[in-house]
Amino acid sequence: MTALGSIQTLEELEQLASQNRAIGTLLRIIKVTCPTTFSNAVIEATCEWIEDATRQAHLYRELKEDQITLFLITHLKASGFDATHDTVNGGHCDVVVRHSKGYIWLAEAKIHDGPKYIKDGYLQLTSRYAHGTDSSPAGGLLIYIFKPNAKKFLDEWREALDKEFSAEGHKTQDCPSGNKLIFISDLTNERSGLPYQVNHFAVPLFFSPRA
């Protein structure tokens, strides 16, 4: 594999990025040009953290919501993002990621305790914190699941969301990346009247080894 120190051109960097996750992160950071590419870069970094957290689920067993979220914040910071927890942003949003050009990505995080509790987080994000302006067209809902079969719980939540919010114009879709532990909901932000998109991330943290 080519070493990073010998990279000279964009083509070489893109080739290397497909083989090395860290270089992929670097390339995404370099390529942020608008709120959408910024959101996508944050989402990719969030997915990386979810993979790591799932692999190390035993470390998260005793943790509370905020403590788990701090691990994500730390990962985002180390990946080059200005990420904070509990910043005053129309209240206390769990994850606030800012870009120097004014782009903002927000997320709420909930330990799964039934669709009602997840719904509270969704409403906090979409009706309290999200500005829904051009600089902040997307956000995330992180669902920490300590029970087996995270996919089942994500599907239940999606079904509840479809049932309760489709009349208000919220539409869900599968994640275009093919990741089955993420789905997307599109809505019109009440405050701005502009389109707003939420990525719903299942974070599988069940750990109960049988041997």
Binding site: M1, A3, L4, G5, S6, I7, Q8, T9, L10, E11, L13, E14, N20, A22, I23, T25, L26, I29, I30, K31, V32, T33, T37, T74, K77, A78, S79, G80, F81, D82, R98, H99, S100
Partner: protein
């Protein structure tokens, strides 16, 4: 922003990162701060590898991602030689060209063929240094 304040920010941001990444980041920041005219700084990956003196496959990409991230300590620029002149593009211009598959020479108005293989990456001091002036 004073160098000590930047170092404190780096320590806080990278408190849970491998110490090697933190040290690599600090070496590059110290290097930029030591330059008489940081505006003329133009670093290649090879330069940064030498300055950071760390593992290329693990620590260096994370250090560079942090440096190029929203703190704005470094910014990537791309230089392309076209019809005998060197043209500099910022990352936004190159990224947009990547999306549509076409990069236009701003002087001639003509398309630059095979721009990805001809776009040489350099790093300049990022916006945080200008804000510090």
């Amino acid at each position: 922003m004073k160098l000590e304040a930047i170092m404190r920010t780096i320590d806080a941001d990278l408190s849970r990162s491998p110490p090697e990444v933190r040290e690599a980041v600090k070496k590059v920041v110290n290097y930029i701060a030591s330059q008489d005219n940081f505006k003329s700084l133009l670093l290649t990956f090879a330069h940064i590898k030498t300055i950071a003196n760390t593992s290329e496959s693990e620590n260096l990409p994370f250090a560079l991602a942090y440096l190029c991230g929203t703190r704005g300590y470094l910014a990537a620029v791309f230089e392309i030689e076209d019809h005998g002149e060197i043209i500099r593009f910022d990352a936004e211009e190159i990224s947009k060209a990547g999306e549509i598959g076409v990069l236009i020479n701003p002087h001639s108005g003509e398309e630059i063929q095979d721009f990805k293989s001809r776009a040489y990456i350099h790093f300049i001091a990022g916006p945080s240094w200008s804000n510090a002036e």
